[in-house]
Structure formats: structure tokens, C-alpha cells
């Protein structure tokens, strides 16, 4: 795989101080990590996104020093961290299962790493004050972790990792075991907390594209132990490097369907025929894989019809699963609507939002124009 470098370095304030080269664990098909090459900034937020078992946790553990690698290097400030034992690195980690010291109260939990490092009592008090105010833990300092709710426990874990003078903060799907409301609330808090991180790099692993979007910052897409794409959040969203990246970084996954371009028309199986939109005009006639987000598939219109297989309500949106003669299509619409299953439904696609991918290697060939990107038209060709 090519070395993945972040394409736009608008702010060259950060040097890329974390350099991972050819990191591998395991062999062949079942490798946990395969030839990972990454350069990460000294400070800021990096979201690692991927499906379950994609290798996110493994990667985080390698960075923390808890997982041995079969080959590769991991440099920080020019020093190979792989040669440093985990307890000597200055790293913080928050797990998805709330992990706190059960035999200590909240105060001692948070103070634990500070005491290990031999910090003076007054300084410890100061830091405790700061962090407990920051995360709203003031009332719970004397309680034990098992007397706290899930959200509070996770805050304690976060406090403990923040209070240290660490250069790297790793969060492994920290919100996955919390309920919906709490997740929304904490996501906002995270964004606030990490937004202006100037002295540490926050690496946040998740399966949810939404969290990446909220946190903004850089994104690394991981799939089956390999880095599929890396770049600023907006880049990965607007220009997914290939089909896999497009599917992972969208929820519901981007619809993919085969089709042919001929005579200014896109023909799709199931009878759907679309006039070739302007941003795809330069593509040679032939077969392609087209992608479109569920949110860009609209109900109504005369373009096509399909059988409604399933309608599910997700929070405040409704997601429809359609079957167009064997071709699946997912449609997302705002609001909560009721549908009869096995109904026949008319829908249409927003052509200006179509992506085109290569049929053989799945690489991005053309992407929709983005009005907000200053000065740039659509991007044709690969990165």
C-alpha cells in the first residue's frame, strides 16, 4: 500500500510526529494488522473508523504498548516507542468497558497515575480540582466506581487519563456501552474537550461515522487490518478513496450498484435510467460501480420503483430498504413515517450526488461537486 499522507496541510503548525511504518501483526488473510503506514500529527484529534474486528483496538493497543508487533516501527519524536515498555510511555487509555480501580474511590482513582509518577501532594490536589470541574465529578469524589452510573464511570476513566501529563490519549469506542441520550451528551463534551488539544494527540476509535464528523480532525479508515484511507475528515467524507471507504464512512453504508454509461445515460439493473450528470461527463463509456448515499435517495418521482422490504425508524429518521429486482437500495428520510411492507414504492436519485468507482479495484473515479470547497471543482482521478 502506498504511504498514506494527509493531502492538505493547511495548518502546518503540527509536524507529523507520530510515524508508523509497516506495522504488521499476524500473517496473510487473518493478519490483525497488515502493513500499516501512518503519519499522525503531534496534537489534535484523529478518528480511527472501521467495522468491528477491523483492527482498531489492536492498533490502539500497539500505540499504548500493550500489544507486541511482528514487524514495523512506531516513532514518536524520533524515538522508536516500540522499544519503550508501556509503563514508561506517557499514554492515557479509555476502554469501552468502563475500567476503573474497584478498590479505590473516585479521588484515588484519578490521582493514581499522579501518585505513581511521584508528584507532590499539592500539585496532585490542583490537578484533581481542575479535572473534576472539567468533567463535573465534584460531587462524586468520595464514591466508589460501583456506586456510579455508566456515564459517570466513563467520566472517571476519562478524568484519570486526562489528568496525566501524557502526549497521547487513546479512546477505544468509549461510548458504545452507554445509552443513546448519554452518548449524544458525551459526544458533545468530547468535541469541546478535544477541540483545542495543543499538547496531546487524541486517537478516537469508533464504528460510527457520526462521531468522526462531530469530532472533526483527521480520519483513518481501517478495514481488515489495513489502512484504506487517511485524511482530514472532510476529505474522507467527500472523496472516499474506494468502495470500502465509502461504505464504512457512511451510516447507513453508501448504496453501491453496478451500471453502464453509454450515450449520455447511466443504465442500472432493474430498469433505472439516469441522465449522466455533469460531474460524470468525462467518464468513458463502460461499466462502473456507482454509489449514492441513502440520504440522497428520495421518495417519489418517476425514476424507478421497487418493493419495500423493510422500514425502520432510527431516532428521528426513517430508513427504507428497497429491493429493485434483486438490487438493494437504502433510502433515508427525515421524520418518522409509517409504511406498509411489501408495498411498491417510487423513488429517484439525486444525480448530482452520484459517485463512480472502478469495477475492478473499487477505486474512486469521480465524485460530486462540493459547493462549499473554495475554488475547487470536482476531483477527477485518484488522490
Amino acid at each position: 500500500m502506498k504511504k498514506a499522507i494527509f493531502p492538505e496541510q493547511k495548518n502546518n503548525d503540527f509536524k507529523m510526529n507520530y510515524i508508523i511504518r509497516n506495522l504488521s501483526i499476524g500473517e496473510g488473510e487473518t493478519a490483525h494488522l497488515c502493513n500499516v503506514n501512518l503519519e499522525l500529527p503531534t496534537a489534535g484529534v484523529v478518528t480511527i473508523i472501521g467495522r468491528t474486528l477491523a483492527g482498531k483496538t489492536t492498533l490502539l493497543k500497539v500505540m499504548a504498548g500493550l500489544q507486541a508487533v511482528d514487524s514495523g516501527t512506531f516513532y514518536h519524536n524520533g524515538k522508536d516507542l516500540l522499544k519503550t515498555p508501556a509503563w514508561k510511555r506517557r499514554v492515557g487509555m479509555v476502554y469501552q468497558q468502563f475500567v476503573n480501580y474497584p478498590h479505590l474511590n473516585v479521588r484515588d482513582n484519578i490521582a493514581f497515575p499522579l501518585r505513581r509518577s511521584g508528584m507532590g501532594r499539592d500539585e496532585i490536589e490542583q490537578k484533581l480540582e481542575y479535572v473534576s470541574t472539567l468533567l463535573g465529578l465534584g460531587d462524586y469524589m468520595e464514591r466508589r466506581p460501583d456506586e456510579l452510573s455508566g456515564g459517570q464511570q466513563q467520566r472517571v476513566a476519562l478524568a484519570r487519563s486526562l489528568v496525566k501529563d501524557s502526549y497521547l490519549l487513546l479512546l477505544d469506542e468509549p461510548l458504545v456501552n452507554l445509552d443513546y441520550k448519554l452518548r449524544e451528551q458525551l459526544r458533545e463534551e468530547f468535541r469541546r474537550l478535544f477541540k483545542d488539544s495543543k499538547d496531546r494527540l487524541v486517537v478516537y476509535a469508533t464504528t460510527e461515522p457520526d462521531e468522526a464528523m462531530i469530532l472533526q480532525g483527521h480520519v483513518v479508515v481501517l478495514h481488515e487490518g489495513r489502512v484504506i484511507q487517511a485524511g482530514p475528515c472532510a476529505d474522507v467524507y467527500h472523496y472516499p478513496a474506494n468502495i470500502i471507504s465509502a461504505k464504512i464512512f457512511n451510516d447507513p453504508p453508501m448504496n453501491m450498484f453496478g451500471g453502464t454509461i453509454a450515450d449520455g445515460l447511466i443504465q442500472v439493473a432493474g430498469g433505472l435510467s439516469i441522465k449522466t450528470p455533469s460531474h460524470l461527463k468525462d467518464l468513458a463509456p463502460g461499466s462502473y460501480v456507482f454509489g449514492i448515499r441513502a440520504i440522497d435517495v428520495k421518495l417519489g418521482g418517476k425514476a424507478a420503483s421497487a418493493d419495500l422490504v423493510l422500514a425502520e425508524v432510527n431516532g428521528s429518521t426513517t430508513v427504507l430498504h428497497l429491493d429493485m429486482d434483486g438490487q438493494n437500495m437504502v433510502l433515508e428520510m427525515q421524520g418518522v413515517h409509517h409504511f406498509d411492507t411489501a408495498a411498491r414504492v417510487d423513488f429517484s436519485l439525486l444525480e448530482s450526488r452520484l459517485y463512480a468507482f472502478d469495477t475492478e479495484r473499487g477505486e474512486l473515479l469521480a465524485a460530486p461537486l462540493i459547493k462549499s470547497l473554495s475554488g475547487q471543482g470536482g476531483l477527477n482521478g485518484k488522490n
Binding site: 500489544q67 507486541a68 515498555p85
Partner: protein
């Protein structure tokens, strides 16, 4: 993880080395001694090759002791399992009874077997002990507890059952208490009676614990010694002589150390092989029944 090797060793080595030192040396020493003719008249490691092993193969007393051991162990453990399970089932659902019975039934297991054996000896005394009083009461007349082979074996088994049924009881009760409720509710809804529920739900669910308990008890029971020494002295004759006791006599009483060593080595190998086979088969049955 980097830098871990030193710690891996810190944790494992002390215990491992101590155990190896205390166990391996004696073991190797025994093997060496088994090839010597060490006895009261000729002390020392004089090499005599495999003479002891040859003698052992023809030693019917040794082989019979193995079969006696098997009988005693299998009978005792089977009884302990059945009684322990039965008692656990009886007490399972009654919370109040559970606490009292748990303490009460725990006690035999905590007593020193050899000391209890001393007491049992007085109990089974054929003319002065209460056992024959009880037998008389039940209409059986005087039972030759310690003078007839069959009864002596029964005495050994009774004592072992008294001592170790609590172990089965506690283990199985803990197991029963940790079973999930759903399968039982399902059985109730299906209208299954207590017997059907037991065979179709309870017993299969307890399979893992059953296997574990049986393996542990079989291993421990095979070492039975105190009872034999105190109550029957292997008798009458050699009818309750287990292999362990026989080796003890040969080695530390007759002082035929070399021969006893060869008996020990053979006995050890047989026990390891047997118990490993039994353990593995039980586990296999367990795995198969789970499918």
C-alpha cells in the same frame, strides 16, 4: 509487550523452581533407588538392574491391591456423588434449611481424617462399639466389621463417604444455585414433572460440574491411606490393603527400600495414565453431551 520477559520470570520462576526442587529430586532419586537392592541388610545404591521390576510383575499382592483400590475408590466416589447430589437437590430450594445444612454438612470435610478414623475404630469395635448395638437394634445381629473382608471394605467405604460426601454436596449445591432459571421455567410451561425436569434439564446443566467434581474426588480418593492404617491395617489379611498401604509396608516397615521404590514408580505411572484417561474421557463425554 516490551520489557515483559523479566516480569514473566519473576512471577513464574520462584514457585516453579521450588516445586521442581522438592518434587523432581525425590522422583529421580526414587527411580534410581528402584534399580538398587537397598534393604535393611544391604543399605545403599547397589545396582541390580531391573530385578525389582521383574519381581513386581510376578507380585500378585501388588496387582490385587490395585484392583482393591479401584473397587474402594469407585464405590466410594459413586456413593458420594449420588448422596451429595441427592442432598443438594433436597436443600436447593429451601433457603432456611440451606444455611443450617451447609454448616452441618461442611463439618466432616473439615475434620482430620486420621483423627476421625481413630474414633470410627472405637465405633466399629465388634463388642464394645455402638455400631453393633445399632445392628442389633435393626435385627442384624453382630456384624464382623473388622474381621470379615467384605465388612472391612464396607467400613472403609462408609468412613470415606462420611468424610467426603460434604465435598460433593457443597460443590453440587453451588452449581445448582448458579443455574439459570429460564430452562426450568420452560420445562414448567411444558408441563414436565420433577423427574423429567431432572433428567432433561437439571442433570445435563450440571454436567460440567459433575465432571470436575468426579475428577477431583477420584484423584484424591485414590490416595486413601489413613483409614486403612488406623482402622483395618490392610486387613483382615490383605483384604483392604490398597496399593499405597502395601508400598508403605514394603518400604517403611520391611525396609525393602529398593523394591518399594520400584513399586512406587510403577504405581505412579499407572495412576497418572489411568487418571489422565479417565479425566479426558469424562471431558469428552461432557463435550459430546453439550452438542
Amino acid at each position: 509487550m516490551q520489557g515483559l520477559t523479566r516480569y514473566k520470570l519473576i512471577f513464574l520462576l520462584p514457585g516453579l523452581l521450588v516445586l521442581l526442587a522438592i518434587i523432581l529430586f525425590p522422583l529421580f532419586f526414587t527411580i534410581r533407588v528402584s534399580f538398587s537392592g537397598w534393604d535393611a541388610i544391604n543399605p545403599g545404591l547397589g545396582w541390580i538392574g531391573g530385578t525389582n521390576y521383574g519381581r513386581l510383575l510376578a507380585d500378585s499382592r501388588f496387582w490385587q491391591s490395585l484392583s482393591r483400590l479401584t473397587t474402594i475408590v469407585l464405590t466410594s466416589v459413586a456413593l458420594e456423588y449420588l448422596l451429595g447430589f441427592g442432598l443438594a437437590l433436597l436443600v436447593w430450594h429451601q433457603v432456611r434449611l440451606r444455611r443450617i445444612t451447609r454448616v452441618l454438612f461442611l463439618i466432616p470435610m473439615m475434620t482430620t481424617p486420621v483423627v476421625m478414623a481413630v474414633i470410627w475404630r472405637t465405633i466399629f469395635h465388634e463388642s464394645l462399639g455402638p455400631a453393633n448395638d445399632l445392628a442389633g437394634l435393626l435385627g442384624f445381629g453382630n456384624i464382623p466389621w473388622l474381621t470379615k473382608p467384605m465388612w472391612a471394605t464396607i467400613v472403609v467405604i462408609v468412613v470415606d463417604v462420611w468424610q467426603w460426601t460434604p465435598f460433593m454436596f457443597l460443590l453440587l449445591l453451588a452449581g445448582l444455585l448458579s443455574l439459570p432459571k429460564e430452562p426450568f421455567l420452560a420445562a414448567e410451561i411444558d408441563g414436565a414433572g420433577p423427574i423429567r425436569t431432572f433428567f432433561n434439564v437439571t442433570f445435563p446443566a450440571m454436567a460440567p460440574i459433575t465432571v470436575g467434581a468426579l475428577i477431583i474426588r477420584l484423584i484424591e480418593a485414590s490416595k486413601i491411606m489413613e483409614t486403612i492404617y488406623v482402622i483395618t491395617s490392610g486387613g483382615p489379611g490383605t483384604s483392604t490393603e490398597t496399593t499405597g498401604y502395601y508400598i508403605f509396608i514394603r518400604g517403611l516397615r520391611d525396609f525393602q527400600i529398593g523394591y518399594a521404590a520400584s513399586l512406587s514408580v510403577t504405581y505412579l505411572v499407572i495412576m497418572i495414565v489411568l487418571l489422565t484417561i479417565i479425566a479426558k474421557s469424562l471431558v469428552k463425554v461432557l463435550v459430546k453431551s453439550g452438542n
